[in-house]
């Protein structure tokens, strides 16, 4: 029970730290969304200042920060400076499309990444090994915008197999998930390969073999378990990175979602919206980290969490 309370306390700490960092980082930038919109229309500087004052943007930063924190405590994330919708609503709406995209990509990346990594670690040699290495390198070295554009050209324009724009059916799901998943698989594969091959050489595996355990048990009981520990962490990290990956994937494949919401909000300096997304990201990371710790505990009970 105490451990649980501690955990929750820590999660709150993480969220506080993240939003505080984001809050002050954003305030370093000159200007804001309101100024940007109105200056483009040639509106008088005095009118612009009035408008900014109405939104509390001219108050001292300390006051704004306190207002923001007390707002969060009341569950009020504020309103977008531009559309003036509640931030929580805007985020809630974008959550599902991004979550499905990220989950699909993560599953594909995990399966593909571990497969490629294990094959690489076994050092089987020959064509398969070369193809595996090449795929891993391509995954880490080709940006989503390039593979995505090529995928659209080949599979939508030339072959006509899959639609490339929208999110209304399962078919719309395939190209973006494949592109994002392939891009994410590389780092999982890299770390899997390094760890599994390292563990295969480790002393305790040799000891286990010397004890006369069957090879299958040696590998299953010991090698894979130990070898996958850091991989779990990398998968958790990649799950988090999927938000940045979604920024480009969603634009390419004309999908709604958090990635585009974040991109627009950041470039337009719609502060309450960016802050809201940071809160969400902090919660996601805290939960993912906890999950990763739990999974690793299951893989190796000797780890202290």
């Amino acid at each position: 029970m105490i451990a649980l309370i501690q955990r929750i306390g820590f999660m709150l700490g993480i969220i506080w730290l993240a939003v505080t960092l984001a809050f002050f980082a954003l305030r370093v930038l000159p200007g804001d969304a309101i100024q940007s919109q109105l200056v483009q229309g040639g509106v008088d500087a005095t009118v612009i200042e009035e408008r900014r004052a109405e939104q509390g943007l001219t108050d001292p930063v300390g006051i704004q920060y306190l207002r923001f924190l007390t707002g969060i405590l009341r569950g009020d994330f504020g309103y977008s400076l531009l559309s003036r919708e509640a931030v929580s609503e805007m985020i809630a709406r974008s959550l599902l499309p991004t979550a499905t995209l990220a989950l699909g990509a993560l599953i594909l990346a995990t399966v593909l990444g571990i497969a490629l990594g294990v094959i690489g670690a076994l050092r089987m040699g020959g064509g398969l090994s070369i193809v595996t290495r090449l795929l891993i390198s391509l995954s880490v070295s080709t940006p989503i915008y390039y593979t995505g554009t090529l995928a659209i050209y080949i599979f939508s324009v030339l072959l006509g197999w899959f639609p490339s724009a929208g999110a209304s059916s399962f078919n719309h799901f395939i190209l973006p998930v494949s592109v994002l998943g392939f891009h994410t698989a590389g780092s999982i594969a890299r770390v899997t390969q390094a760890n599994v091959s390292e563990v295969l050489d480790a002393e305790f595996i040799r000891v286990a073999r010397a004890k006369g355990l069957r090879e299958r048990d040696v590998i299953l009981r010991h090698a894979l378990r130990a070898g996958l520990l850091p991989v779990v962490q990398v998968i958790a990290l990649q799950a988090g990175f999927l938000l940045s990956g979604a920024v480009i994937t969603e634009s390419l494949f004309v999908r709604p979602g958090l990635g585009r919401l974040l991109l627009d909000a950041t470039l337009q300096q719609d502060y309450p919206l960016v802050q809201g997304i940071v809160v969400l990201a902090a919660i996601t990371y805290a939960v993912l980290n906890m999950l990763a710790d739990i999974v690793r505990l299951l893989l190796d009970p000797r780890i202290r969490i």
Binding site: A18, S141, Y145, N195, V274
Partner: protein, 256 residues
């Protein structure tokens, strides 16, 4: 491991000796010759402003590799230090560092980049800081996980039992054991640095305008991939070859 060394050597040779290997100016536009396919004059063709792609690939390697190496150092040094502290230190330290990295991860890298480039101005160094900063937390998390993985190995447990100092265990036993994971992840970070730097430049957050860079060339090549595929292919191959070699070498070094 001769092949990746050879490839890397060749790439470095070409990139460093760019001024000797091409008489052309990578920045000089020549709009009447835009989108020319590879020919005797331009062995890799020309880009959208008529600049020589071969020349730009050579010079582009300089800024790309410098940027990626800086970014790698900025990410790895504090990242690994934090990860080791978290993995080997007291429980509270582990928790604190865990919280810090989670919080850092939650701040979008786009925001980090905007702020860094606003404060420090443009250039290769600020671009690598922007790219490197957002990779510190992942490096720390991976290191911490790797340390935890090897800590429980029998002989390390035994070392603690025998009263060896933390420092000694860290240097003698843990570090060598997690080296493969670290090297593997460093290879990944290197690759992401190349790509993320380009992604930022693409959003208008990059270095000087017109400065050649493999990632940016790839982005330009994408916009013209049907009328002039050669613009993206050469820098794309350069990136893939470099990352492949770096990764393979990293694996090899990690093994020793």
């Amino acid at each position: 491991m001769r092949v990746p060394l050879l490839i890397l050597g060749v790439i470095l040779f070409f990139v460093i000796l760019a001024p000797v290997l091409t008489p052309l100016d990578p920045m000089k536009t020549n709009p009447t010759l835009q989108f020319q396919p590879p020919s005797g004059d331009n062995i890799l063709g020309t880009d959208s402003l008529g600049r020589d792609v071969w020349t730009r690939v050579l010079y582009g390697g300089q800024s790309t590799l410098l940027m990626a190496i800086f970014a790698l150092l900025i990410a790895i040094i504090p990242g690994v230090t934090l990860g080791l502290l978290a993995g080997t230190g007291q429980r509270w330290l582990d928790r604190m560092i865990g919280a810090l990295t989670s919080a850092l991860l939650a701040v979008p890298s786009l925001v980090v980049a905007l702020v860094v480039l606003t404060l420090l101005g443009r250039g290769i160094l600020s671009l690598s800081i922007a790219v490197g900063l957002s990779q510190i937390a992942p490096c720390a998390a991976v290191t911490r996980a790797a340390v935890q993985g090897v800590r429980s190995l029998t002989y390390i447990e035994a070392g603690y039992g025998l009263g060896a100092t933390r420092r000694r265990i860290l240097l003698r036993h843990i570090l060598p054991n997690i080296q493969p994971t670290l090297m593997a992840y460093a290879g990944v970070v290197f690759g992401y640095s190349v790509l993320n730097g380009a992604a930022l430049s693409f959003l208008g957050l990059g270095g000087e305008l017109g400065t050649p860079d493999w990632g940016i060339m790839l982005a330009e090549g994408r916009a013209a991939f049907r009328i002039a595929p050669w613009i993206g292919i050469a820098p794309g191959l350069a990136i893939t070859a470099t990352i492949w070699s770096v990764n393979t070498l990293a694996d090899h070094i990690g093994k020793r």
